[in-house]
């Protein structure tokens, strides 16, 4: 019985933390947010040097052959510093899709390129998790048409994996004829989500048309679990900043961290967040090892982390008083990242509704 990180995972955790803390300071975030692509070549190269871009890609395809928990360890650290890096789409969701549904040729074609940092992939699944604005993609005769919205990590992507309906996955190359990409300007500019309008765009099937529902679900589960890990990191950093600030800031001749009202606010955040850590570990473990529980855990970890993180975003800002509301503190980058993560791949309410159906509590 050992529920937690292995020695190797502790080392991975330490090295990724060291990297993000030294290489992705707040000043760099400010610059990158102005660019708004959700990507920076220097950060990407750094992750590549750490050998983590192919974290869940098997060694035979040039990856590191590590597990899903290793992937969430990395995602958590990226969330901790609100890193603009398309890791979620490219390194977690895309390989999950290709490994679940792709042919050997496709695995050989794409996976080594992803692991090497040469190929960045955007993921369009919103039409499965929540249709808005009549979005939807149809696949017919090797071509796709329609509209994909909130394509994750799409702004910097070299190619896209899109769900065409609930049981078909396709690959579309960036810049393909008939494809129009528009950045969706969300509150969170650390990530580049886009809209794709497709008019008879050439597409490559991943797996077979109409029979990849399980693979689509797997990609959504992977994405939700990783978003929960991102939320864990983002919220952990906010809590730390609240406590750090409260220990420095003085009013009425004492540090405000000695006021009970403020201590209780911080204690509440910590108490709500701490059990989330183990929940993320377990959900990540299920993605790889316990197929029966993978989807339920993905739903619950995503919605629970969203519910815990939102008050932390608010209360950390509150602890900073007026300064928290300004741009100077930079807290708002974390606040906004939590805001986007909460909605991506389904809001807490809609994800919980999926969990209800899954458990047979209501009919589908």
């Amino acid at each position: 019985m050992e529920f937690g990180y292995s020695e190797e995972q502790k080392m991975l955790d330490e090295s990724i933390r060291r990297f993000v803390n030294s290489e992705i300071p707040l000043d760099r975030i400010r610059e990158l947010v102005l660019e708004g692509t959700g990507f920076d070549q220097t950060i990407w190269n750094g992750l590549s040097e750490l050998g983590v871009l192919g974290v869940i890609i098997p060694e035979e395809f040039g990856g590191a052959g590590m597990g899903f928990l290793d992937a969430t360890i990395i995602q958590e650290s990226l969330g901790y510093v609100v890193a603009p890096a398309p890791f979620l789409g490219t390194c977690i969701m895309a390989p999950t899709a290709i490994l679940a549904a792709g042919s050997d040729d496709q695995k050989n074609k794409w996976l080594p390129e992803i692991a090497a940092g040469n190929l960045k992939v955007g993921l369009g699944l919103s039409e499965v998790t929540g249709v808005r604005e009549n979005a939807g993609v149809t696949f017919e005769g090797g071509k796709v048409s329609g509209k994909a919205m909130f394509v994750i990590d799409g702004e910097c992507a070299d190619g896209y994996i899109l769900a065409a309906g609930k049981s078909t996955l396709v690959w579309v190359a960036a810049g393909a004829a008939g494809l129009t990409k528009t950045k969706l300007n969300t509150v969170d500019n650390t990530r580049g989500v886009v809209e794709l309008v497709l008019d008879g765009v050439e597409a490559e099937l991943i797996g077979s048309a109409g029979s990849e529902a399980a693979a689509v679900q797997k990609v959504i589960d992977a994405g939700r679990t990783a978003l929960a890990a991102d939320l864990l990191g983002t919220s952990q950093r906010m809590l730390e900043r609240a406590v750090e600030y409260a220990k420095e800031r003085k009013q009425f001749n004492r540090v405000i961290a000695s006021f009970q009202g403020l201590k209780h606010t911080c204690a509440t955040m910590a108490a709500d967040l701490e059990p989330c850590r183990a929940m993320v570990w377990y959900a990540a473990h299920c993605q790889q090892e316990i197929a029966d529980e993978a989807t339920l855990l993905a739903c619950q970890v995503k919605s629970h982390l969203s519910e815990v993180s939102t008050p932390i975003a608010n209360d950390t800002t509150l602890v900073h008083g007026g300064m928290g509301f300004t741009d100077l503190m930079g807290l708002h980058f974390w606040f906004k990242r939590i805001g986007l993560s909460r909605q991506l791949l389904g809001s807490p309410e809609s994800v919980r509704e999926e969990a209800a159906v899954l458990q047979g509590w209501i009919a589908a």
Binding site: E2, F3, G4, K263, A267, A270, P275, S303, H304, W361
Partner: protein
């Protein structure tokens, strides 16, 4: 990540299951807890100790099973007995708190005299800690004892004393050194409840039950050798005991069991002809609670691993009581709301659901939010010990 306990433990689990299958029918009902042990309770306890399912690691010479500490075996016993709804033997503060304390700090004579009859249910103990003026700030307790003719003479009052009305003995904290600093002036004494000068008044709680008492002491005389450790060391002794109490309040196994009962309730009950589970509002509350319960269950797995590996990280332990007790009350609250007007029926009624347990539990959970260190105290502990935030400065008295 390795979530298996290993074959040795799988075998042990089979053994426990076989025992429950063969003997489970002899288990006393859980509703009997909180009463003085009767013959049935004692017989079950004796059997459990013989087989190593109770008093597992207490040495044989003191009436225990004499096994080696094995956390996973203890966890398996808990899981299997709880899962089967079978009693894990006698409870009470004598077994959970006094026995471990005596093992650690008692004299040989004290161990021989008290531990065995306590384990067997022949001596039932009450705990005399809290006072009307000493709740969260327990060390400020004022019940006094001075020595006169070779005896401690106790005067004062205790409150929140569970089981005092049927207990045989009490372990009590009293102030014996009035001039010492507050933590250094306390002693830990053992006394029979039939000593002259003790008056017990039941304290009826909001649930309508009197599980607690007020206990008044007027010139109550206790031989001076009825002390654990030395005079003035009582605070240290009590803290050795308190550490054995940790983790009992807010256990996620209880949350999970309550949640399952609400799922069943919402599947069965309907309002305006609509099944409660088909109401999106109630369903979403249920699912939110399920997420919270899950987080606490995995936190428990993390704590188990920490205990096994000697990892002493504080935060995952510190949050259990605060989060767990509120979570349990919220679950009961959903059951009551799901029942609506039926949910407020309390005493005998033909419309009562689950024997009226939801209201009782809801109120009882509030008691647990308060008892064992209120939520406010828990938040002080989390912020000070977990987050390193400073204590609130003492008020400056103006001259």
């Amino acid at each position: 990540m390795d979530l298996s306990y290993g074959t040795e433990y799988d075998d042990y689990r089979d053994e426990v299951r076989a025992f429950i299958k063969e003997h489970g029918h002899k288990s006393p009902a859980s509703s009997k807890q909180g009463n003085k042990p009767d013959t049935e309770d004692k017989a079950w306890q004796k059997l459990l100790i013989e087989r190593g399912y109770a008093a597992r690691i207490i040495p044989k010479e003191y009436g225990g099973y004499g096994g080696e500490a094995d956390l996973l075996k203890s966890v398996i016993i808990d899981e299997e007995f709880d899962g089967a709804g079978v009693s894990k033997g006698l409870g009470g503060q004598g077994i959970s708190m006094l026995v471990p304390t005596l093992l650690e700090l008692g004299t040989d004579e004290q161990k021989k005299k008290w531990i065995k009859p306590t384990l067997m249910g022949d001596i039932f103990w009450a705990q005399g800690y809290s006072e009307p003026g000493a709740g969260s700030d327990l060390a400020s307790l004022q019940t006094k004892a001075h020595v006169e003719d070779g005896k401690f003479v106790i005067n004062g009052q205790k409150i929140w004393t569970s089981s005092a009305h049927f207990a045989d003995m009490m372990f009590i904290l009293v102030r014996t050194e009035p001039d010492a600093p507050k933590h250094k002036g306390i002693s830990y004494l053992l006394l029979p409840m039939d000593t002259p000068g003790i008056e017990i008044k039941p304290l009826v709680t909001m649930t309508g039950e009197a599980t607690f008492n007020e206990v008044f002491f007027e010139d109550v005389k206790v031989p001076t050798d009825q002390i654990v450790a030395k005079r003035g060391e009582g605070w240290m002794v009590a803290n050795a005991t308190l550490k054995h109490e940790r983790g009992m309040l807010g256990d996620p196994r209880q949350s999970s069991s309550l949640l399952h009962q609400v799922v069943a309730l919402m599947n069965e009950e309907s309002v305006n002809g609509v099944r409660l589970m088909d109401s999106p509002l109630f369903r979403d509350r249920l699912l939110k609670l399920q997420g919270r319960v899950m987080a606490m269950q995995y936190n428990s797995m993390r704590l188990l691993t920490n205990d096994l590996s000697g990892n002493t990280e504080l935060m995952p332990i510190l949050v259990v009581k605060l989060i767990g007790t509120h979570l349990n009350q919220d679950i009961c609250g959903l059951a009551i709301d799901a029942l609506g007007e039926l949910g407020v029926l309390y005493d005998d009624s033909k419309y009562l659901r689950n024997s009226g347990m939801w209201q009782t539990r809801y109120m009882f959970m509030l008691g647990l939010i308060i008892g064992g260190g209120t939520s406010h105290i828990q938040k002080n502990i989390i912020s000070e010990h977990g987050l390193g935030m400073p204590r609130e400065p003492k008020p400056q008295l103006k001259a």
